[in-house]
């Protein structure tokens, strides 16, 4: 059996995507926790360009960038495919995954790290971005259809970290009224055993992100 190792931190949502993917496919792997304030030689060696987690080590190869790792995992272990078969559907999934990382995540982070009027404007933007994903869910249980797929994994952080951010920053972005489908999806997704079992401690995350927000607002 080929060796699979995942370099991650306890708190970052990006390595979680890979945890979910590997577990959904039943791939055994070893976890190596990194302290980003003290990066290991292994991390620096295997991701010299970005020096970030996650890193997947497999057969002596290092694969980096979470969405790229997801594609690698999907191509290497064929059980429970994450991406659909049809090229057009695959293109659509890739489109939304990129959209989530390029637009949705930054706009939610923006709202989280601001206050007052700036926060309000950030929330408006975040909601505009999320509207497209709300549309995309029409008639579907998951973005992937009946099962968790690529886009579900890409957006999954929203169902836990998103609500955390809302609580800490005193804001509400994903309201049931404006986002009935996303809200329902969030509950369904968070209830999937593999997802439920792998969230980091809520209290620890709250403490961490509260501290981050406080220090950003001080600047």
């Amino acid at each position: 059996m080929a060796e699979v190792k995942l370099l991650r931190t306890w708190s970052s949502p990006f390595p979680l995507r890979i945890v979910w993917a590997l577990q959904l496919k039943g791939v055994p792997y070893e976890t190596i926790y990194e302290d980003l304030s003290n990066k290991s030689p292994l991390l620096l060696q295997s991701n010299p360009v970005h020096k970030k987690v996650p890193v997947l080590l497999h057969n002596g190869n290092a694969v980096v960038e979470s969405l790229i790792i997801l594609e690698y995992v999907d191509e290497t272990w064929k059980e429970n495919p994450l991406l659909p078969e049809d090229p057009l559907d695959r293109a659509t999934a890739r489109f939304w995954a990129r959209y989530i990382d390029d637009k949705v995540l930054p706009s939610i982070w923006e709202s989280f790290t601001k206050e007052g009027k700036e926060q309000e404007e950030g929330i408006v933007k975040a909601k505009e971005n999320l509207k497209y994903l709300e549309e995309e869910l029409k008639g579907k249980k998951f973005f992937g259809g009946d099962k968790v797929g690529f886009v579900d994994i890409a957006l999954g952080w929203l169902t836990y970290y998103g609500s955390l951010f809302e609580d800490i920053a005193g804001m509400k972005v994903v309201t049931k009224e404006e986002f009935p489908l996303l809200s329902a999806w969030a509950a369904t997704f968070a209830d999937v055993p593999i997802i439920k079992d792998n969230w980091p401690s809520r209290d620890k995350l709250i403490a961490k992100f509260q501290a981050i927000r406080d220090s950003i607002l001080k600047e």
């Binding site: 694969v63 960038e65 790229i68 594609e71 690698y72 090229p87 057009l88």
Partner: protein, 223 residues
């Protein structure tokens, strides 16, 4: 190919549309090209790419695909001859990595060198040179990023050979340093001269003038 309708919404000076033209040409796919007037986007473009409202958009049998790198993957999966991406999952991951690196690191740095002045400009140019030097490491000793023939990363990065040269001339910065990045410099020459790619490249004088005009507007706004 008979029975298939392939349309590309593009803009003559867009490097991202150029990527798709290259891929379509390499795969010998017949398509209808629609030139968008970007200050005046067509209802068609807005309908086919409502999220980003930008070119390129590939429309295949009436179904749109947006975002140039995603379009490249779509083309490769739909028309299987003359493959653009390698077969092996790890090599594919590396190709995707470098294409992403180009868009997330090289492009913004070059753009920043183009739109800024003084110290900001020099700082951006330095970052761009560093990023390009990093990109060079992916070439190894090969003729192309794809090996013996043009592949995904060549298609993704080739345009820099034109645009960066324009930026160098217009903004008076050094980006592609022949001394510190000789392999990348040689590759730029090679990729833009490659048979199929060469035909699709926009006229150089026209491109330079176009970008010069852009520069005037951008720097007037920032001064």
């Amino acid at each position: 190919m008979s029975g298939e309708s392939v349309k590309l919404l593009g803009y003559w000076a867009s490097p991202f549309a150029l990527r798709v033209k290259w891929a379509l040409k390499l795969k010998e796919i017949e398509y209808q090209y629609v030139e968008e007037d970007l200050p005046n986007k067509s209802p068609l473009l807005l309908r086919y790419n409502p999220v980003h409202k930008r070119v390129p958009v590939l429309v295949h049998d009436g179904k749109p695909v947006a975002e140039s790198l995603i379009i490249l993957e779509y083309i490769d999966e739909t028309w299987k001859h003359n493959p653009i991406l390698p077969q092996d999952p790890y090599e594919r991951a590396q190709a995707r990595f470098w294409a992403g690196f180009i868009d997330e690191k090289c492009v913004p740095a070059i753009m920043s060198a183009f739109t800024n002045q003084g110290e900001e400009k020099e700082k951006a140019a330095k970052e761009a040179r560093e990023n390009l030097k990093t990109l060079e490491s992916a070439l190894g000793g090969k003729d192309f990023f794809g090996g013996e023939t043009v592949g995904f990363v060549d298609i993704a990065a080739g345009w820099i050979g034109l645009w960066a040269r324009n930026v160098e001339e217009i903004a008076e910065v050094n980006l592609i340093d022949a001394e510190t990045m000789p392999l990348l410099n040689a590759w730029f020459g090679r990729v833009l001269e490659a048979p199929v790619l060469k035909e699709c490249v926009p006229p150089r004088d026209k491109l330079l003038e176009h970008n010069r005009g852009f520069h005037k507007i951008l720097t007037a706004a920032s001064s």
